[in-house]
Symmetry: C2
Subunit: 589 residues, 2 copies
């Protein structure tokens, strides 16, 4: 039983409980995100408050214990709207109409029989539900908190009450999760983003399209520098490709037939449809194809930090966790069958290097395989090739000593996937990236190389992105490091704090010696007292605070406070520069 299915069912039950307790409340929308789910309601007079959460949870637990059955059925649009209007569910009517505009004519509903009402409760939903609430452990979910959210993220529209909840398979998982959440709250990228000035969203730019402020852009530059070094070391070649393309390319790559709902809508240019790229692969295939290759040229490894655009429903956009614009640490390796294992092992090596660099102790690969039953319908119908390829990947995984699990029936249509899962310092799981072994698309793109016997062969393609997207990686790193980044990555490395304005000019001198070494340093020339200045610097999580006073000026030295370790010491400017340039260039943890 899939935990998401339980969460969808619990959202339904939350709505049922709300309607029993607050008959005037109108239901809006209730998606599930990562480990939790929420439901937005329009309460009469905003009557639902934080203190009502307990009673609502109790009511939900009661419903769960009643072994209620779920039944799914579809209604044609007209009937669906008629039904929803009778129930005064204006928001659901609006959603049904949006589905209709996207050509979804049959609207899905779930019904469960309510024992205390002698009637059924119905909610509009297309996600799978459990067949009976007895599949859910009533002790393994909990309501978390309430919040406010505009209908459709639009500040001109009604403000709704959002009820958050967690749900797991077992109570133990829930308890662990709640403990972890307490810690995660402290580390949440939404808590400090404004104070630390990492990014901003803007209504006139659009939802899901973050704008990166200098602090974020600095981190991104450092991460790209790292990736470029590492990729050069491993023999990758850098390339660059445009962000748009004609429809033909994405038709050929199977994206338009199978992935269109995740793509942005088209632009009509000179009587042709153009699309924003959701993935870089087809462009790289074109680059591979631009110059004839021989077996001597392989493996060819093309790397690009490619900025992609994916359509996510505006309901499911959520800060950096679900965005529409992603900058991806992408690369494609084209190799012969004989080279595959070696190349794949090198990719895993690179992952392990990064995990080590970022102190990620717990990680796991998940090999998603085909299912015999669904060959041809869900998977390319070539069983022997599937078995052979999966065996190749398994054998390579074993050689790398990386922990991995296997999952039947979760591959992509034409290739086995290897998902990479990592756990943050507080034990939360993130899906970092997906590797794919691609034995189908190179053929579709007629990619070839001349083999030593002068025959034309098709290369295998490995898709990989160990540093994920900037958006996902930095979201993870914020939680993982609790906002105290390693020096090389920190957007603000050093601040010089003169004890009074008498030492401003010495402070500036210190600043400029550090700047010469490309250290990210500022100086606090405000008229605040020393304590306030230090407190301000600590609030900005600056790695080193250098206090300068009479003694320091006399000795060309600085009083160093390490924000992370809280250690203090007095050393000369030169010593300090030497120490921290080493710390930066070695990317010390």
């Amino acid at each position: 039983m899939n935990i998401e299915t339980k969460r969808h069912s619990l959202a339904h039950i939350m709505a049922q409980a709300v309607k029993e307790m607050y008959p005037n409340a109108k239901m809006a929308i209730g998606p599930d995100i990562e480990n939790w789910f929420y439901y937005d309601f329009d309460f009469w007079n905003d009557e639902f408050k934080e203190e009502n959460l307990k009673d609502l949870e109790k009511k939900m637990k009661k419903i769960v214990s009643q072994n209620q059955k779920f039944e799914q059925y579809d209604l044609p649009y007209v009937e669906a709207v008629k039904f929803l209007k009778e129930k005064w569910e204006d928001y659901k009517v609006e959603m049904a109409t949006e589905l209709k505009e996207k050509w979804i004519e049959n609207i899905s509903f779930y019904k469960n029989i309510m024992q205390n009402w002698n009637e059924s409760f119905v909610d509009m939903c297309s996600w799978p539900h459990v067949d009976n609430t007895n599949k859910i452990d009533a002790n393994a979910f909990a309501l978390d908190k309430i919040a406010w959210a505009y209908w459709k993220w639009d500040s001109n529209k009604k403000m709704l009450t959002r009820i958050y909840a967690f749900a797991f398979d077992t109570k133990e998982e829930l308890d662990n999760h709640i403990k972890m959440i307490e810690e995660a709250k402290r580390r949440d990228h939404r808590v400090l983003w404004e104070k630390l000035q990492l990014f901003t969203f803007d209504n006139e730019v659009g939802p899901g399209l973050p704008l990166w402020l200098p602090a974020w852009a600095t981190m991104v530059e450092e991460i790209e520098k790292l990736a470029k070094q590492k990729e050069e070391e491993y023999g990758y070649q850098r390339v660059r490709t445009p962000h748009i393309t004609k429809w033909e390319l994405y038709y050929k790559s199977w994206h338009l037939p199978y992935y269109k709902e995740s793509m942005f809508p088209s632009m009509n240019l000179d009587w042709e449809e153009y699309y924003l790229k959701p993935m870089n692969c087809p462009h790289h295939h074109k680059l591979y194809d631009a110059i004839p290759k021989s077996y001597r040229d392989l493996p060819v490894r093309f790397a690009e930090y490619g900025h992609c655009y994916r359509y996510e429903d505006s309901w499911s956009l959520f800060w950096l966790m679900r965005v529409r614009s992603l900058c991806m640490n992408d690369a494609h390796i084209y190799c012969t069958e004989e080279q595959f294992e070696d190349e794949f092992i090198k990719v895993i090596e690179m992952y392990k290097f990064y995990f080590d660099l970022f102190w990620v102790d717990k990680f796991q690969m998940r090999l998603s395989k085909h299912s015999k039953e669904w060959l041809w319908k869900k998977y390319v119908d070539n069983e022997s090739l599937w078995i052979k390829t999966e065996e190749q990947v398994r054998s390579a995984l074993i050689k790398t000593w990386v922990p991995f699990v296997e999952a039947e029936d979760e591959a992509a249509f034409y290739w086995p996937k290897i998902d990479v899962q990592i756990w943050s310092a507080i034990g939360r799981e993130f899906t970092l990236a997906t590797n794919q072994l691609d034995f189908a698309v190179p053929e579709r793109f007629s990619l070839t190389y001349k083999d030593s016997d002068w025959s034309d062969k098709t290369p295998i393609c490995i898709h990989r992105a160990p540093l994920s997207t900037h958006e996902r990686l930095i979201w993870f790193l914020i939680e993982h490091f609790a906002w105290i980044f390693p020096l090389w990555l920190a957007p603000r490395q050093v601040i010089v704090v003169p004890v009074s304005d008498k030492f401003d000019s010495y402070a500036k001198k210190v600043e400029s010696s550090l700047k010469q070494e490309w250290i990210r340093v500022t100086v606090d020339l405000s008229s605040d007292w020393l304590n306030k200045k230090v407190r301000n610097a600590e609030k900005m999580h600056i790695n080193y605070i250098l206090i300068v006073w009479e003694q320091e000026e006399l000795n060309n030295s600085v009083s160093v406070r390490n924000y992370k370790t809280k250690e203090q010491k007095v050393i000369t400017i030169n010593e300090f520069v030497k120490e921290i340039t080493n710390e930066i260039s070695d990317r010390v943890k």
Copy 2:
């Protein structure tokens, strides 16, 4: 008299001459690009050949000498098509229909009275023409060559004959240009792009959207590294912004009202129009606005290599000279009025640094000013502000000692522009970039800072892009350096050539010592003879060829050939590494 006007008139005369000599030829299209123009014709049986150019030129000169008058008139679409169909001008019919689809209802024609036919010759054209051919010096133009071009760049359509011509104001200019063109041909980015594997275009990606191969991407990385260093040195902060935005932003920035025809068409997303960005400025304004500013924070300098998309008619797309996707060395400086001069001077300083680095000896700034006559119609109606601002720019330009000219009536609607013109090593002029002084848009975006008296003030914004776009800069550098790039910029720096396969392993050892220092090196392990290997390396314009044989292996040395100076010498690997890492890190010319 504008030289472009003469070129448009000459294109008309070329068509007239063609129709007199080849009555069955059909006219297609004839735009002007940089210093020349061309006209595509569909000749019956492709009868026009290179050897017919002389006669055609003679005929054109005769027409020019006849003092023919030009008259412009418009026809409504229906009549225009009727007229063109009577003349069997199928291509013109197609173009008129395209104009109609773009809501241009009145089609513009030019007519001139032909003295030998006793009737008039008419061509469809919307560009201005001279009033009489006596304005044109018949000795100041020349036909250049013919070429083949598909109608609408579509290989499924008819192949047309393209006739190229040069035109200038005086014969002297023409002669100088022809001399320069001879040299430019040798340096043309279209000649060697394929062999040197810089970029590729692909039909399934779309015209005007280059895909950068590793050699190009390497150069681009080096240029960005340079820009980032320089900008950090000058106190710029890096930012990153998405490539799309809601219509509202570009409406507010005046792009949609005044610049729409150069923008890509919109995408309809969640019932809102989204646009690809043609410029980065509005996004940067949003970033400025995200955090409240005080006078102490100014100047704020945001830099981004921003990838923009501009719609150019598919007719006018031309290799790297006119593309639809541009990656721009963009930045916006927000400052107070008092800071303006200082900031502006620092921008010019940066230009001069780059000119020096790239050996650009000849350059000029062109200050485009308002015109009193057109205030309010073409320019923001605030004459005193115009005069004051232009005076500020002029005074700053004088202080930098940079050569500049002034041009009346060429400013943008709401700001004076400073165009930067540079001349390549062979004397060809390129417009590299445009700086703009913007005193209007910050107000429209309600950008403010708290001044020392606690009042809210509006900052001035300086737009600048000294390294232009990657597309334009590298196109220039290719011609300027004739494909022999300075070492730091060269995509291929070193190749190791073993004299026979006996020395392959030593060659690989040399390669790996160089790779450790991040030098871009390959080794030629082919079975070719030494001479062939050296010739191949020279064809790829690799800066250093290291030949290794018995003596070299014995002494841990290499025989170095400098491709540019043709100098040769034998030195140890270590000496060589030291020499060229210095050459790279100092960006030696």
